[in-house]
């Protein structure tokens, strides 16, 4: 046991001596949470639009003013002819053009239906849809006011309740995701590289002939990373709570246990990778391609799983991060207890056992 303690101490030295890595490991979660909280959002405002006013009338002026006043739009340029629109889109600054045809004032006087044309750069379909929706709504409201709206009969009002996140803060969604990515990074990627490093430098052989059991060596190697990962979790939670006002509604103990479970799952994955290769570069590329990208993109962190094609929805089931994110959202934001997450927890535990089993098998075949 004493030897084991000394061994863990050596691992801590490795980590603590390497100031740069330590700084990054502790700083990265902070930077990510701050970026997601302050800089990265899907909401669109201040989109640049161009105005092509062929009517030169009062109505076009008023509508333009309303568009600007909404805060969603910035007038980038006043155009002279239709052909300029494409050129502006190609330079990439303008997202939408509003065209007021020359006859609209005349049509209005005669009480004829008039049309204003919106042309969106739909290379980004989301932004295009959103901008058109915003602009249509603003123009629609203007039109209604112009009609001196008589109240319509049979009006259905809709009350909307936004549950769990009434102010629709995107940071609520991102905090669990960032936590997952960081834990995966520290636990799986770091350990797979730390272990292959010993192999590459030849120090693994020295350790293997020592009286420590191979299993103990591996456990000793990963313990510091568990602590590091948990420290990161705490930092992220504190930031989420105190900077962004994100609540932790469920039990803290349950949350801590679930984090520990996921850290162990990720470590087991890291160990599995390290049993498959003895090159740090290969370990890194596998971690990157097989772990990190799916963790970011197929876990429901950024893109909703329900919107993906069926095949991907099925594939997403084998990604541990998916289950962990569900658990986090449940415990942190919905405040549910174990009765709502036991299934997900069992799946993670099962995966962990599978990864450990596979690692042990790989390890044995190597020694034989």
């Amino acid at each position: 046991m004493k030897q084991f303690g000394i061994f863990i101490q050596k691992e801590f030295y490795h980590i603590l001596r390497d100031r740069r890595t330590l700084l990054i490991l502790l700083g990265m979660p902070v930077v990510l949470v701050l970026l997601f909280g302050f800089a990265i959002t899907n909401e669109i405002d201040n989109a640049r639009i161009a105005i092509l006013d062929q009517s030169k009338g009062e109505m076009s002026q008023e509508i333009t003013q309303r568009l600007v006043a909404s805060g969603y739009f910035l007038i980038d340029e006043n155009l002279q002819e239709i052909a300029q629109i494409e050129q502006h889109f190609r330079e990439g600054k303008t997202k939408m053009a509003v065209v007021f045809p020359s006859g609209i004032e005349e049509d209005k006087r005669r009480n004829l239906p008039t049309q204003i044309q919106l042309i969106a750069d739909a290379t980004d379909p989301n932004t295009a849809t959103t901008l058109i929706n915003y602009a249509s709504a603003i123009i629609g409201q203007y039109a209604q006011e112009q009609a001196r709206g008589q109240a319509l009969p049979m009006q259905i009002r809709t009350e909307v309740k936004m549950l769990y996140n009434p102010r629709l803060k995107s940071v609520f969604l991102f905090v669990p995701g960032v936590m997952t990515v960081i834990l995966m990074l520290v636990s799986a990627m770091m350990t797979s590289i730390a272990i292959t490093r010993e192999k590459e430098l030849g120090t693994m052989e020295v350790l293997l002939v020592s009286p420590l059991k191979p299993a103990m060596i591996i456990v000793g190697k990963v313990i510091p990373y568990i602590l590091l990962a948990l420290a990161n979790t705490v930092v992220i939670l504190l930031l989420g709570t105190f900077v962004f006002g994100m609540p932790v509604r469920g039990s803290l103990v349950l949350l801590a246990l679930e984090c520990l479970l996921f850290v162990i799952t990720a470590l087991a994955l890291g160990i599995l990778i390290s049993t498959r290769t003895d090159s740090q570069q290969v370990a890194m590329l596998i971690s990157l391609m097989v772990l990190m990208l799916p963790t970011i993109l197929l876990s429901g962190f950024i893109f909703p799983i329900e919107s993906m094609p069926k095949v991907l929805q099925v594939i997403s089931n084998i990604i541990p991060a998916k289950w962990f994110i569900i658990i986090l959202k449940n415990v942190m934001l919905k405040g549910t207890g174990i009765e709502f997450v036991w299934k997900e927890s069992l799946i993670l535990a099962g995966m962990t056992l599978f990864f450990i089993g596979a690692s042990v098998r790989n390890f044995k075949t190597r020694l034989e």
Partner: protein, 372 residues
């Protein structure tokens, strides 16, 4: 120049000595591209809907029918009281529930007004907003329908007046993949390039072979070029494969010039690989190099406009993106491939990238020390 060729040859031998490297570098990214392009979709489909119908009238049945007909919604539950709906939201089986109160139809006819309630799981704020917008649109539509069908007075059609028409240029089908594939391609090429080059020199430091190189009369720039070119070639090949996949599988329109894409990519990769080498010269171990690269890459990627529009960021964040090479390449790929922008349109991008390439690689050469 011959010296450089020897280094390049050695690098290629070493990279592909590991049998897993070839598929990892060339096959995995293609698989990733195909998967990610399908996954990276903000469009909200399959919203799981639970309806609580406390009215059970002709109107409520008609409204429910409208929801069922909409492909964005997926009716997962139907009940007469609130509790089952809440439970399903809590467990995650439903995303949204619509509550039709008792006497909905009667209020509508007698009082000329009635109300409905929508509750959305808003943890994903954007998704919740869109779900709510879809639901409201259906309700509006339903409202218009019953107004024309049931209302007695004839003069209730919308008055003639101002209306809006719209058209979507460059991507009339509103295909999200067309938008994402060029961007994801940038992501993959960047990841492979930066990590391979970032871990390269530092690997020689770690193993000790760098000393043997440092006692040779090799010039610093020869060494850096020799280290840079193999990855530059690999990354360009990778980009070509990705573009072919994009064309075959995703029908990406190649509106602009491919020469322009490759020309820009060539400069861009010099920047990315130079950054990798710079990381390699300032770190001591591969583990360190990987984390430093990873740290900057994740910021580059998140701030690149790849997943979320740059215009939505606050001004300070937008200012940061001006120093982000990934943002420039993502932009150029979309501009040229999808909109057919020409060299004049992207001249600013080219100028910035050229300056950056020069700066980063000079720094890498200066920072690489043969003597310590």
């Amino acid at each position: 120049m011959r010296t450089v060729l020897f280094i390049i040859r050695k690098e290629f031998l070493q990279i592909f000595r590991h049998k897993v490297m070839l598929p990892l570098i060339f096959l995995m990214p293609v698989i990733q591209l195909v998967i990610l392009a399908h996954a990276a979709d903000f469009e909200v489909k399959n919203i799981n809907l639970h309806i609580v119908d406390q009215d059970r009238s002709q109107a409520s049945v008609q409204l429910i029918g409208k929801f069922r007909a909409c492909r964005n919604f997926n009716l997962v539950g139907y009940s007469f009281t609130n509790q089952p709906a809440f439970d399903e939201i809590q467990s995650g089986d439903a995303d949204l529930f619509l509550e039709i109160p008792p006497n909905f139809q009667r209020d509508l006819i007698r009082h000329n007004a009635a109300s409905l309630q929508i509750s959305v799981n808003a943890i994903n704020g954007v998704q919740a907003g869109l779900a709510n917008a879809y639901a409201s649109a259906i309700i509006q539509d339903f409202n218009r329908q019953i107004r024309t069908e049931w209302a007695r007075s004839p003069a209730l059609k919308a008055p003639a007046g101002l209306s809006v028409t719209y058209s979507n240029w460059f991507n009339p089908d509103m295909n999200y993949q067309t938008f994402m594939v060029p961007g994801i391609l940038v992501l993959l090429v960047t990841l492979i390039g930066m990590f391979l080059s970032g871990m390269n020199i530092v690997k020689e430091k770690e193993i000790g072979t760098i000393e043997q190189i440092n006692v040779t009369p090799i010039r610093k720039y020869q060494f850096i070029i020799g280290k840079l070119l193999p990855f530059w070639i690999i990354a360009l090949v990778e980009l070509s494969i990705g573009l072919v996949v994009g064309w075959l599988i995703f029908d990406i329109p190649f509106v602009g010039s491919l020469w322009l894409i490759f020309g820009f990519a060539a400069i861009y990769l010099l920047v990315v690989l130079g950054l990798g080498l710079l990381v390699s010269t300032i770190t001591e171990t591969q583990q360190q190099a990987m984390f430093v690269s990873w740290f900057f890459l994740i910021i580059f990627i998140l701030m690149s406009g790849l997943f979320t529009p740059i215009e939505s960021m606050p001004a300070w964040a937008q200012a940061i993106t001006r120093f982000n090479p990934v943002a420039y390449f993502v932009d150029v790929m979309r501009l040229v491939l999808l909109k057919g922008s020409n060299l004049m349109d992207i001249r600013l991008h080219v100028a910035v990238m050229l300056t950056a390439a020069l700066l980063v690689n000079t720094l890498a050469v200066v920072n690489y020390r043969k003597t310590n």
